[in-house]
């Protein structure tokens, strides 16, 4: 299971992960080796097996729609790299 550099760059773009050329090459090798190990799963016949998204027995855990206290906004903004009034400030999204 061999990935191409182009595929690796595409995955990095999907994940919004900046990668250098050297990293692309290294990840290409690493991921190819790891993906090869996953082929073992093809040995298993899972046609009539249900998918288990988690190991919990709970479903649709709900609470009453009642208003409760949230974190104060000044505490939430305290960690922000850049903020203005009660907003997080970011560089332009559209050029």
């Amino acid at each position: 299971m061999s990935l191409s550099n182009e595929e690796v760059r595409h995955i990095a773009w999907l994940a919004r992960l900046g990668v250098t050329d050297a990293e692309v090459e290294r990840f290409r090798e690493d991921l190819s080796v790891i993906l090869e190990h996953f082929r073992a799963l093809e040995e298993l016949d899972t046609n009539s097996v249900p998918a288990a998204a988690h190991a919990s027995l709970l479903h649709n855990v709900l609470r009453d729609d009642v208003q409760a206290a949230s974190l104060p906004s000044d505490e939430v903004l305290a960690n922000a790299p850049d903020s203005e009034d009660s907003l997080f400030r970011v560089p332009p999204i559209l050029e």
Binding site: I11, L17, G18, D30, L44, T46, A51, H54, N79, V90
Partner: protein
């Protein structure tokens, strides 16, 4: 007990002295802080030491103890893995991308411990975002195994395990997604428990793989482990995956009596490539339990075991790729600001994340991407069902399953960092437990070349009582838990 030995106390021994007022929380906390000063430069287990707040908490604890009505963990110093949010105290998750992050809230487990006036001494080092098995992937520095400083403490909760083995506190907290409590517990010669999925709240535990993560205790003995479990377990309104299952008093199961209990020994956990001394120590432990009256059954097979590694390394990175999407330099943490948001996000994540984290995010992104979802993620979820069903059938026959925690003892720093697959293989015995959501315990059962060997016990969902009962009985018939590294 002399002042310079106080840090070696267990919780249950310290509690007696605190409640009888022979010892103050202040003295105990000072003793642990002195121990930290003594060993930290060699160990590097801690990222943040909270000396001032710890001493203030100790004074509060002493006031509580004076009333005669104090909760069980009052005045007991502990260390928390830096994956747990602690209000007002820097929380890095072992990553540069959260270098200056100060959470505005406490994780539920932290809140419950502080409410009992336990004393938070420090935040422990870890593999970045809990991705690793040696703590070498911390963005800050590696932690050293107190039994041999050239060796790893295990991971990802390596700091929590090493700190406790070195008596820097009386208990510590870790998290376990694929073995990150049990494997370091085994490598460092302490008790480590991964509770049933849903037994302990994940609120405030920075998410790695939401269907696998659990918070759990490291302790010096099984009784201490039970005491911490009493404090941290139970449903939490902030964690919808926490189970509405009653929390027993875990200390009541420590009877020392294992007669009539059935122990299954699955053959898939005694493979070629295991270190011979590990096999020997674990076999001797199982033989001792048999002499104590448990029945041991070796015709147990869990054929799906060999698929657990692949299933885990699809499920966990897939979930991680979603959980780590929030680190974008917008609301908190490190931010590299460029001309546009897209460039900024790419650069922030490119610079802020380490190699192992990037590798897993990419693996997960790939497995979930269009065209590959069915072959990888969906397939792995079906394998999860098979693994869970296999354990369910085994627990219909046996009370606990016994096996080694790891195929080897702690390896040398740098030995596995060049080959990701080699590192992943060190978790083969621990991964299946997380996939099935069942609880498992690691406790010391011997030494090989001066390094601890871990015995692992597994039980059915919400049967931590059986793990503690069997573990405690074995422990009290041996002296492994009384050994200390010479630091």
């Amino acid at each position: 007990m002399s002042g310079d030995q106080l840090h070696t106390l267990s919780i249950h021994a310290a509690r007696k002295l605190l409640h009888s007022r022979e010892l103050s929380a202040h003295e105990l906390t000072e003793a642990c802080l002195e121990r930290v000063d003594q060993v930290e430069l060699r160990l590097r287990a801690l990222l943040t030491v909270c000396a001032d707040s710890a001493l203030a908490q100790a004074d509060e604890a002493d006031r509580e103890l004076a009333t005669g009505d104090a909760a069980p963990l009052t005045g007991i110093p502990f260390i928390a893995k830096d994956l747990l949010c602690t209000r007002g105290i820097r929380t890095t998750c072992g990553s540069r991308i959260l270098e200056g992050f100060v959470p505005p809230y406490d994780a539920t487990v932290i809140e419950r411990l502080l409410r009992q006036h336990a004393i938070m001494l420090a935040k422990a080092n870890m593999d970045e975002f809990a991705m690793g098995s040696s703590t070498e992937h911390s963005a800050y520095f590696p932690t050293h195994n107190p039994w041999n400083l050239d060796c790893v403490p295990g991971g990802s909760s390596g700091g929590s395990a090493a700190a406790l083995a070195a008596d820097e506190a009386l208990f510590s907290l870790g998290s376990d997604t694929g073995g990150s409590i049990r494997q370091p517990a085994g490598f460092c010669g302490v008790v480590g428990l991964k509770p049933t999925y849903g037994r302990v709240s994940r609120y405030g535990l920075v998410a790695f793989a939401s269907s696998l993560d659990q918070v759990g205790p490291f302790a010096k003995d099984v009784e201490d482990c039970a005491l911490v479990m009493n404090a941290i377990s139970g449903q939490c309104p902030h964690d919808s995956t926490s189970a509405p299952v009653a929390v027993p008093d875990f200390a009541t199961f420590l009877t020392g009596d294992v007669r009539g209990l059935k122990i299954g020994v699955p053959r898939e956990y005694f493979i070629e490539g295991m270190q011979p001394e590990v096999r020997r120590s674990v076999e001797e432990a199982i033989a001792l339990l048999e002499r104590m009256g448990a029945s041991v059954h070796r015709d147990v097979s869990l054929p799906s075991t060999k698929y657990a590694l692949a299933a885990y390394y699809i499920i966990a990175p897939s979930e991680a790729s979603a959980n780590l999407a929030r680190y974008d330099g917008v609301k908190y943490g490190f931010a590299r600001r460029l001309a546009t948001t897209e460039e900024s996000v790419n650069a922030t994540r490119g610079e802020g994340f380490g190699q192992e984290v990037k590798r897993r995010i990419m693996l997960g992104t790939y497995a979930l991407s269009s065209g590959y979802y069915d072959a990888y993620y969906l397939k792995a979820q079906k394998v999860r069902h098979l693994i869970s069903e296999e354990f369910k059938r085994a627990f219909a026959e046996y009370d606990v399953l016994a096996m080694p925690t790891s195929p080897t003892v702690a390896f040398e720093l740098g030995a596995k960092t060049n080959d990701p697959m080699q590192m992943y293989l060190s978790d083969v015995f621990t991964l299946p437990v997380n996939i099935a959501g069942i609880p498992a315990l690691s406790l010391p059962c011997g030494f090989a070349g001066g390094l601890p060997v871990g015995l692992q016990l597994m039980a059915d969902r919400f049967r931590e009582d059986l793990l503690l009962k069997v573990g405690h009985a074995y422990e009290q018939a041996t002296e492994w838990h009384l050994q200390r590294p010479s630091l």
